[in-house]
């Protein structure tokens, strides 16, 4: 039966860890803005992209 007690202790500990993680993420502002990051991750990381999709003629090579 002792094994059940051990298991329960482990499960509660894990749950507390998750609660702590949630608390930290809340505190660090991860829920402040739930819209912008979802858009931001879709932006291309084109660093001065060689190919300009809009077909702009005057590209500067800087």
């Amino acid at each position: 039966m002792n094994i059940i007690v051990l298991l329960i202790l482990i499960s509660v500990t894990i749950a507390v860890v998750f609660l702590a993680i949630f608390y930290w993420s809340m505190k660090s502002g991860q829920y402040d803005d739930t819209y912008t990051p979802s858009v931001r991750m879709l932006f291309d990381d084109s660093k001065q992209s060689a190919k300009n999709k809009s077909g702009s003629a005057n590209k500067k090579a800087d």
Binding site: I8, V12, L19, Y23, S54, S56
Partner: protein, 799 residues
Amino acid sequence: MEVQHEVIEVDVQCYHCGQPCEDISWQDDKPFCCVGCKTVYEILSANDLCEYYNYQQNPGTQLNKPVNESAYDYLNEPAVHQKLLTFNSDTFSRVNFYVPTIHCVSCIWLLENLKRLDSGILKSEVNFARKQVVIDFNPEKISLARVASLMATVGYAPVITLNDNKATANPVFSADKKLITKLAVAGFCFGNVMLFSFPEYLGLEGEDSLKEIFSWLNALLSIPVLLYSDTDYLTSAWKSFRQRQINIDVPIAVGLIALFGRSLWEIVSGYGPGYFDSFTGLVFFLLVGRWFQSKTYQSLAFDRDFKSYFPLAVQRRQGNEWKPVVIYELKKGDEIKIRNMEIVPADSTLLTGEGFMDYSFVTGESKPVKITAGSHIYAGGRLIGQPVTLRVEKETSQSHLTSLWNNAVFKKPQESRYRKILDKAAQRFTWIVLAIALATAGYWYLADASQVWLIVTAVLMVACPCALALTAPFTYGNMLRQFGRHGLYLKNADVIERMAVIDALVFDKTGTLTHGLKPQVDFVGSLSEGEFANIRRLCSFSTHPLSTIISQALVQRGAGEVKEFKEIPAQGIEALINNDRYRVGSAWFTGSTPLPDDSTSVVFVSINAEPRGYFQIKTSVRQHLEPMLRRWNRPVAMVSGDNDADKDRMKMLFGPDAQLLFNQNPHDKLNYVKELQQADNKVMMLGDGLNDSGALKQADVGIAVTDDTGVFTPSCDGILQGDKLPLLDKFLRLAKSATTIVKSAFVLSFFYNAVALSFAVTGNLTPLIAAVLMPLSSISVVVFTTVLVNFAAVRVLKR
């Protein structure tokens, strides 16, 4: 003399802003409606930022006026730095700008790539919900003023006011965060307590040692709920108890403490497993209700005062040069310079120059007032014309306008003036529960004295009005969302309760009943189509507000070339178009006879020195208002700062019974609302400007009407989109039905309480019954109110 033009209508959309193009200018095979849009495109394409146009079609906003490079110079003053920068060192600064033009994905992309426009900008991050941009920059490479003007040149001018400096500290927002953390803790404990209560639910026998461990774990898990999650309820109950008042939190707190105390006692004494699942569950549901009610519109501001309208800084003479100075440092006797379209920050006297002062902001009077040297000028006026110099007579905080904020109305918090429905119900409820508890105690004392303590605590426990406390948050929270969906954004849920009892409406005229942006333009006289087109072209060259109105109102299109354009301040504009000399402006300037009636804005036209007629500019009334006012059928009034030129039109609109007051200053408006309230009316005030602020605050409900939620609105209880004004009576009816829904949900939750109490007084409340009954009552109340509110909203608003 008549020159006809071939007018070819081409429906081309501007590549930048999506507006229909009139004079298409091409760049890289893309059409642009104006120089402003084209310039932005050129800047972006020169910096290889054309990806901007890939995320959204026509993402830009039209730049109506060219960006004045020196407009942001005041941002370089150390005093301004101190107010605006959230972090400042020699090589690193951080600023938080509010940018109302943020509206789409492309906006986010461009603003986050600002560093590609200037290497001094290190990083920029957008918060879309709050329409804010946090910018890190290197002050050695780029000044704060340059950052702001750079943003302005690409169409994202930051709006900077005294009010929201260091905008990061948002009290509403951090309170919200705290609530969610409390909710998370309660939810976590509730779930785990339920898990450990399973043996009890299933009635499993044996393994008593394990059951005991579970009970102790439950007690342990309930401690954070008692000490952290429910603290709002306990402190609020304690406060109101000390003031000898009973609000809804008092019976809740008593119930929660009874639950926890009894459960702890049961476990310690080995009597039973306790009711920790009910305890944590109650707190969890209560917090869910509170969270649901706290829906906020983060990008809207409901608490702005006059400071938001005033510029942050102004040019002041220091010796022989003009230097920007923060306005609260202005002293009596200072000389300041005001440019076209700038706002005068303090009461002052005009020293040199002349022009027009637009007080529409302050008084509601839409016609600009002519000013000459020596004129007294009130704070809040907007200059139209050439730059002028002024001598400050009073400091900003002492100005005529700002004295409105010294009125007592602005001193006390509005919420305290109302007793909520819920608290009234709670009071009655508490007395009933106390009476029942005493009666039960008396009965059991005679029947079986050893049971008294157990049964009285059981009564107090189940009487905890959790379902009662949930009705209001869920009804009003749902209502808040429904209103928001239809263009009425309320500050908080309490406003709905006050809306339900409104029986008198007071409207402001300019900007509220009438369109702020689309005036009605009538031409009296005779002009050919081609001449109209030429006048439109001519007017589009001028930035004077009347010119803008005329050029926007005329539909005729033409391509006559404008030569020798001249703008004579306070007189008019003239130019040579197709060899005809056009003059548009005052009667004297065009050689016309002035009109005897001086009450509307009139612009005269002459061609080759021959008077041809005049434009009459009237504000146009919003559509569909009349049916709404007829449906309302209760006291209604209009208070306007404007002159009574519109009297007949307003009489037609309001009907014969309405009271129409003109030439009212802000203090008059406030007093008018007060008088109505003293005659036992519950007043809703609808206004739009700074001049309505006092009345909005004084009224039981103050609603700001606006065509663009991005612009500043005065302090108010709610913001209503201008085109949704015809729904006003329906909104009020819906608010009334919310009260009915709350009351019927009260009945439902009283029913649950009666059932639970019958178990408790007879001594049959087992933990299992408590565990079923308490969540069941909470959930059914939530479902009941949600369904009814949505049903009511569909019924009232859709028709």
